[in-house]
Symmetry: C2
């Protein structure tokens, strides 16, 4: 309910945009993160608590200060969430969902147990086990090694095509998947409240920059046929039911060159593949996230405009205090909406903001993308 005190673990850009949506309805939001000055949400929450969201005592104390507890990043102390839940605290999404998603091997097992399509995998405990299984022919090139825990924005992922690549292999619990022959990367967001009311957004298509290994641009809705769209949305619905979701869940998918759809991974929080929903959809993912975790009726996820979303990254050749330039040129592109996250320090390829272009003319997409990427700089 709107009068309750909401607490969110994490104060990055997803937390910031959640705070903006909460401010529209004067909902009180406390944020816990390391440092207010470095937190994009720091200046927009009702109260900021400096703390370590992976620390048991910090999360317990924060949880006890709010009515409803949620997250904007999965890497939180889940033991504290279980204990708070035990004590009767409302935690959405549930600690069970968060711990399921914190560990990629549990995620994969969940998908397989529920007959959801995903690439085959094996789990290895460390580099020694990886080498053993490789030498015994159980793992073959090309494969992908992913850390079970704490991977983020492409970190914790290693593609191995030849023996030399394995020098970089992680020495920690990992999953090993065959390298999939990807044609498209897709994502879908599903939101569900305690009354089992479910809102499913249109599927979006993401295009990655192989240099930065970060989402580079996104087209929404994805250019899929209706059958594929409905198949993916049905999958999202089934996952939300299977985990009894209260909150929001982003599901990243691969479409292989043979047309097969595979679930890659999931995130039980607002997601960068849903930034466009602020302007392009009837109800933004941030507003529906808030509505879902506080027991309010969900808003329509309907797409109102197609959109091209471009990430604004920290300039490659600069690290230091941020100073934006090129914004005037970007805003000269018709129907463009700028979002700057407000991070005080720029680092190469750091996510500093995004631009959402509504109803981009079909043949102009690459032109707009290049215009935006060449204009934006994070130094003077």
């Amino acid at each position: 309910m709107i009068n309750k005190r909401l607490g969110i673990l994490g104060g990055g850009q997803l937390g910031k945009m959640t705070c903006l949506a909460a401010s529209e309805i004067a909902m009180s939001v406390s944020i816990m993160d390391h440092n207010r000055d470095d937190s994009p949400a720091g200046n927009l929450c009702t109260s900021f608590v400096a703390g370590d969201i992976t620390n048991y005592a910090d999360v317990m104390s924060f949880g006890n200060s709010v009515d409803i507890l949620s997250i904007e990043i999965e890497k939180v102390n889940v033991k504290a969430l279980y204990d708070l839940h035990e004590q009767g605290k409302t935690i959405n999404p549930s600690p069970g969902i968060i711990s399921l998603i914190q560990d990629k091997s549990l995620q994969k097992s969940f998908l397989i147990d529920n007959n959801l399509p995903t690439s085959e995998f094996v789990k290895v405990s460390d580099k020694v086990e990886l080498m053993d299984r490789f030498n015994s022919g159980n793992i073959k090139f090309p494969f992908v090694q992913k850390l079970c825990k704490d991977g983020y924005d492409g970190r914790g992922v290693l593609i191995c095509r030849k023996f030399a690549d394995m020098n970089e292999a992680f020495d920690a619990p990992c999953i090993i998947e065959n390298l999939v022959d990807i044609d498209h990367e897709l994502a879908v967001i599903v939101c569900r409240n305690k009354f089992r009311q479910t809102a499913i957004y249109d599927v979006v298509e993401m295009v990655f920059d192989p240099n930065a290994n970060l989402l580079d641009f996104q087209i929404a809705p994805a250019t899929l046929d209706t059958f594929q769209t409905l198949k993916i949305q049905k999958m999202a619905y089934e996952i939300a039911e299977a985990i009894d979701l209260i909150g929001i869940l982003a599901i990243e998918l691969f479409m292989t060159k043979s047309g097969e759809i595979l679930v890659n991974e999931m995130a039980p929080r607002p997601h960068n593949s849903g930034h466009h929903t602020i302007e392009a959809c009837q109800t933004s993912q941030y507003e529906n996230f808030l509505r879902s975790i506080t027991g309010l009726p969900l808003g329509s996820p309907e797409t109102l405009s197609s959109s091209l979303l471009v990430n604004l990254l920290g300039s490659q050749d600069y690290q230091g205090p941020v100073n934006y330039s090129g914004v005037e040129r970007i805003l000269s592109i018709p129907n463009t909406h700028l979002h700057i996250y407000g991070k005080p320090t720029s680092k190469p390829f750091r996510k500093m903001g995004h631009v959402n272009v509504l109803n981009p003319a079909k043949n102009k997409e690459i032109e707009y993308l290049n215009e935006i990427k060449s204009s934006f700089k994070t130094y003077k």
Copy 2:
């Protein structure tokens, strides 16, 4: 420019929604108002300065701490603005525009001098002059007396139909207008930057509640024929050119029962008749206000959805700490967006928020209005 420090005099709901738009692009906004806790913008600005915006020294000191100075309410110390401008400070809109609009008799003279349609008026200095002119037959029933300065939300306006009504007459400089036979009340918003780029929003229609004398609900766009719409938008363009507007200007108009369009009054700031632009238009009035005063290209004012806007007022029978109820029912109406301003204290008829219903079914408008008004309460 996005790196400049913006200062805004006033921290009410218009300042709050401006701060939310600024936060999307990490633009630094300082707000001056009496008290942070009572200010809807207090928790959302980059810095809050407690002060009296009608006080010369307070405005001077605040102006000197920012790069660009603007307003969200006209009632500010304009002498300080002139002096700051003299010293080279960027002030948008200009002190000249603000002082023109602070005084209704100057506004009326401006309209008449520029051949813009408005009802005839006479100026009186006090109640004695009003009575003299009435007794000499210069003023006749029914007429409207409006305070030249500081009228707001229907305060400072008196309708006199008979002699007894004149007991309430203001004893201060006023304008006296013939009571117009109003068929509709309309409003249009125009935004213009220093490059003379101009964005004009669609005309909206306002319906007032005679009990509360506050905007009750609004339909956007107004149901006008194209000729009338273009006539009003052209008028808005001409006014913006005539005053060399840098910023945003709302123009309230009357359409008489004989179909005549008359300018009622103007406000050089974001306006309650533009709340719907957050969801219903390509670019919100708040975003275009920021773009205009900071020299950025304007966004399209295009209407994307029709909308029904309902003000949420403090419960008539209650004064005290706010506690919202009825929100769940309101959010069950399809395509509804809720805005709560976050005022800590509820008073009868105080503007506490608004609801914007997108694409309301034509025959459902009154049903939605009644549902919203009967559901919303500001006490438990």
